[in-house]
Homo-oligomer: 192 residues x 4
Amino acid sequence: MAVAGNSDGRVERSKAAVLAETYRQLTLSGLGGVSVDEVARNSGVAKTTIYRHWPSRSALLIDACSRMGGPQPAPDTGSVRTDLLALATAVAEQLWTAAWPSVLPSIIDAAERDPDIADMFAQLHQGNMAPFREVVARGRERGELRPDTVVDDVVTAVMAPLFYRRWFAKERVDDAFVHATVDHAIRSAQQT
Amino acid sequence: MAVAGNSDGRVERSKAAVLAETYRQLTLSGLGGVSVDEVARNSGVAKTTIYRHWPSRSALLIDACSRMGGPQPAPDTGSVRTDLLALATAVAEQLWTAAWPSVLPSIIDAAERDPDIADMFAQLHQGNMAPFREVVARGRERGELRPDTVVDDVVTAVMAPLFYRRWFAKERVDDAFVHATVDHAIRSAQQT
Amino acid sequence: MAVAGNSDGRVERSKAAVLAETYRQLTLSGLGGVSVDEVARNSGVAKTTIYRHWPSRSALLIDACSRMGGPQPAPDTGSVRTDLLALATAVAEQLWTAAWPSVLPSIIDAAERDPDIADMFAQLHQGNMAPFREVVARGRERGELRPDTVVDDVVTAVMAPLFYRRWFAKERVDDAFVHATVDHAIRSAQQT
Amino acid sequence: MAVAGNSDGRVERSKAAVLAETYRQLTLSGLGGVSVDEVARNSGVAKTTIYRHWPSRSALLIDACSRMGGPQPAPDTGSVRTDLLALATAVAEQLWTAAWPSVLPSIIDAAERDPDIADMFAQLHQGNMAPFREVVARGRERGELRPDTVVDDVVTAVMAPLFYRRWFAKERVDDAFVHATVDHAIRSAQQT
DNA sequence: CAGTAAACGAGACGGTACGTCCCGTCTTATG
DNA sequence: CATAAGACGGGACGTACCGTCTCGTTTACTG
C-alpha cells in the first residue's frame, strides 16, 4: 500500500535540500532575500517541487524559520540567579555572533502584516523563551521569588534590554550589563 | 545672483507628493512593500522624476523614513518621574496606535545589511530618544538621580520593555506596566 | 526519450504571435519603429517570454526580417529573356505594392553598423536573388549567353535600375522600362 | 528697428554648433543614432535652444542632412564619355570612403514614412545628380547622343549599378566596372 | 546711459522603451 | 505519483531619450 508515501525517500530529500538552502539564504539576507528561483537553482530541486510541498513562498519561509534557534536546555543549579545568568549570557553571546538573530527583524516585520507568520513567530519565540520561564517558575516554587511573581514579567525584564541593545542601541552588551540586568530583574520579584 | 533659487516650486511639489505616497505605502507594507512604480502611479510624479531626486529606491526609503516620528518636545515638570511617565506613556500609546511603529522592524531588518540604512536608523532613533535623554540628564543635575547615572542606561530601562512587549510579546502594555517600568528604572539610578 | 520534444505547443504559439506582430510593426515603421513593449502588448505575449526566445531586440528583428520576402520559384521557359522578364516584372510589381520593400532601407541602414544584421541581409538578399541567378546560369549553359558571362553582373544589370527607381527616383517603373532593362542586360552578355 | 536681428551672432553660433555636432553623430550612427540630448551635451547648446531653432528632432535632422554632400562641379571636357567617367569615378570613390553615404540608407528609410524627409531627400539627390544631368544634356546637344535621349535614363544607367553594389552586393567596384557601366549607358543612348 | 527684448543655460517634468530579475502557475516527460 | 525542466504572464527595477515647461542670466539694440 505504502499509504503514507514516505517509503519513497525523495520527498524527504527534496524538503531537506530546500530547507537547507532556504536557511542559508535566510541567514545571509533575511526573509526578503530569499528567492524561490534561487533556492531551486542552488538546491537542485525544481521550483515545481517546491511549490508542491509549500503552497507559497511565505509558507516555505515560515517552515524554514520555525526550525531556527533550536531549544536551549534549561539549567538547574538550584539558584534562579545562576540559572538566569547562564541562560542570559548564552543568549547575549548568540545575539551578537550567531547567524539567526539577524533574521529576526525581518520575521517580526513580516509578522506585522501576515498573521500566519505572526503565529509562527509567537510559537518560535515561545520555544526560545521556554527555558527562561522554566527557570523562573522553579525559583518561584523554591521560594526565591515572591509567590505572586508573574513569570513573563521577569523574563521580559531579563530579555528586553538585551534585544534593545542588539537592535536599537548598537552597543554590544558585556558581562557586567548582563549581570546587572539579571540582578535587577530578580530584585523586582523579591521586593516586598 | 541667487543662483540656487528654489523659485520654481515644482521640485518641492514633486518631492512632497512622492514622500507622502512613499510614507503611505511604508505604513501599509513596510520598507519591502514600497514600489517605485507604484509610488509614481499614485503620486502623479513620473518615475523618471523620482530617480532624478533620489538616486535609488533605497535612498528614497531612507529619506522617507528619516522624516517619520516627529520629535516629541521634552516636558519639564521638575520631576524626573513625572517627565518620564509622560514621555513613556505617549510612546506606549503610539507604539500600539500610530502607523509608523509598524515600519520599524523592516527598517531594523534593512539596517542589518545596509550601512546607509543603519546610519539613518541610528539618527532617527537618536532623535526619538532625545527627549528621554534630556529629561534624565535634567533629573541627574537636579540631584534626583545619582551623579554617576549613565543616561542611556536609564533610557534603555524605560524603553526596552515597551519595545519588547510591542514586538516579542504581543500583549499591549497598560498604564500600570508603564508606571512599574518607569519606577523601576528610576529606582536603579537612585539606589546607593 | 524524445528529450527535445516540442510537444508543448506554447513555444511555437508564442514565437508565431511575436513574429507576426513584429512583422506588422516592421512594415508599418521599419526596424526602428519596432518596440518590444508594443510587440508584447499587441501579441499577448509577455515581454519576459519574448526575451526568453530572443536575446535582444536586435535578434528579434533579425529573425523577423529573415522570414520576409519568401523565395520566388525560378521559371524555366527555355528562354533567358522570358524567364528574366517574368522575374523582373514580379519584383517590380512587389517593389511598389508589397509591404516588405519599405523595410529594406532600415535593414540596410542597420547593416551599415551591425555586422549581424549585415549577415542576415546578405543571406536574405542572396535568397531573393537566387531565382535570377539560376535563370541566368541556365541561359549561359544553353548558349544563349556568352560562356564567360558573369552571372552576378547580369543580375545586377537587371535589378539595379529597379531598386534605383524605387528609392532614388520616386517614379514607378512600367513594363516598357522593365523590358528595356532586361533586353539591355541580356545584350551585354551576348555581344562579342 | 534691427528687424533682421542677425546682428546678434549668438543664433548663428548656436545653429552652427548644433548642426556640426548633429552631422558628427549622423555620420557615426545614421539618422537613428542622433540624440537631441547628446547633441545638446556635446555642442554646449542647451536643449531648449535647439528646440527653439528646430521644431522637432526630425526638422533638425532634415536641416543637417540637406547640407550633406556638397555639389560637385560638372566637368566639361567636350566628351560625354570622359565627363561621365570622371563623375562616376568620383562618386564610386566616395561611396566607399566618405562618411556621408553611410547615412543615406537611414534617410531613405525615414523618407519611406515621412513626406518632409522624402522631399528633403529628393532635393538632396537632385542636387547630387545635377552634374550628371548637365553633362548628359550637353552631350545630347553636341550630337554625341541621340536627340531623343532621356537624360534621366542615362543617369540611372550610370548610377544604379554603383548604388546597388554599395548596398546590395557588398563588393566594391573597381575602375573596370565603372568604365563598363559608363560605356554601357552611353551605348544605349547612341544605338539606333 | 538706463531700459527692454530676444537668445540663452540649466534643468525639472511626464512619458515610453529598454533588458533583467523575481513570483506563482502551467505543461510535459522521466523515474 | 514525485520529480526535473522549463514556458508563461505579470510586475518591478534603474536608465536613456523625447519634447515641454519654467526660470534667471547674458547680450545687444533702443530711447
